[in-house]
Symmetry: C2
Subunit: 187 residues, 2 copies
DNA sequence: ATAATAAGCGGAGCATACTCCGTTTGTCAA
DNA sequence: TTGACAAACGGAGTATGCTCCGCTTATTAT
């Protein structure tokens, strides 16, 4: 990679980060970002094929950090499996609320499939979620565990979550309801 | 409503339906529709504030029909609760696959909240789903039942479902996995 | 029938995502 | 150092969703 290209990539990330601090992600256009970065739109798009990918790049560190932290937590369980899972959920929802604008862009952009589902990060997220689900899901195959991880992630995607919040549920209530649903339960 | 306005609305619906038969929904622009309908874009947008709403209008009958049919089925159960639920799921997925392009436009458009979640149709769909879930969900509050209906709908939304299919799961496998997850289960 | 009026029309125009391609520049072999 | 060239640049251009507003027309009261 040429040196100037590397510098431009950083300029883009900086410009985007600054603009996203100033106003809502949805209110920042790609042209705005190029302008503030002091580059042409062509250069912007060569570095990041669309807004979602740019947001993904900006979220990478945060998400990696979250995953690393949670993996540590799950390694040495400090409470019951159920409590452990509920806490995991709560922290995941907390994390998401903090970065909701970037995540919404990623999850609702026209390129969800490639940007979100096909990213290595999604795989990591699924792996983490599987680890969190395993202790509360006896006797299910790996394939089914993966399926449930996918479903859990899907349930908490921005649109669905926003709707639940709008309906009046708090983060905690949502975490509890999800727990009830996912935890192996006998009447 | 003025008579010419009513005629135009029909012209729009016809034009859209025809174009959507010719090529993919995503490959048809609002301008195309206006042109084929023989009206201005302003008129088009006065009738349908965005592409998602137009797709919703085109789906209304189909969905209504599905709901009505399922309500009948659920009224006189012909098999075990579990089987009943799995069959409901299968039919829902079948229905969705048949209309997937319209549904994708509705569920992934920028106006999901108003077009999808806040539509009376979503309420009906939730009610139906609650009816389907009730026999397999002992002892849960109405609020929690509604929550689970929301989650079920969310899990099967176009992005999430497309991903599962892409992963190699068949419609039947997905229905089974979902059933396992939703049906009250004891080890 | 006619005039007044509100309901509706249409398309120019705007914003934004994204592409294309002629020009420039960093890199590296000689 | 310099020449050659791939890599990268940048911005004009395109496509599309959507708005705005001056003009037209159906309706209705007289």
């Amino acid at each position: 990679m040429r040196k100037d290209a590397q510098i431009n990539q950083q300029k883009i990330l900086d410009a985007a980060a600054n603009l996203f601090k100033e106003r809502a992600v949805s209110k920042v256009s790609m042209k705005d970002i190029a302008q503030v970065a002091g580059i042409g739109t062509g250069t912007l798009y060569r570095n990041f094929p669309n807004k979602s990918e740019l947001c993904m790049a900006l979220s990478l560190d945060y998400i990696q950090q979250f995953i690393t932290g949670e993996e540590a937590q799950l390694q040495n369980p400090s409470s019951s499996a159920n409590k452990q899972f509920e806490d995991f959920l709560t922290r995941w929802l907390e994390f998401r609320e903090r970065r909701i604008q970037l995540l919404t862009e990623i999850e609702t952009g026209p390129s969800v499939m490639s940007t979100f589902y096909h990213s290595p990060l999604y795989q990591q997220l699924v792996n983490l979620t599987m680890q969190a689900l395993k202790p509360i899901s006896d006797n299910i195959s790996k394939a089914e565990l993966k399926f449930r991880a996918d479903m859990l992630i899907s349930m908490l995607k921005s649109d669905s979550y926003a709707y639940q919040r709008e309906q009046g549920l708090t983060r905690e209530q949502i975490a509890i309801n999800i727990s009830h649903l996912m935890i192996k339960r006998c009447d």
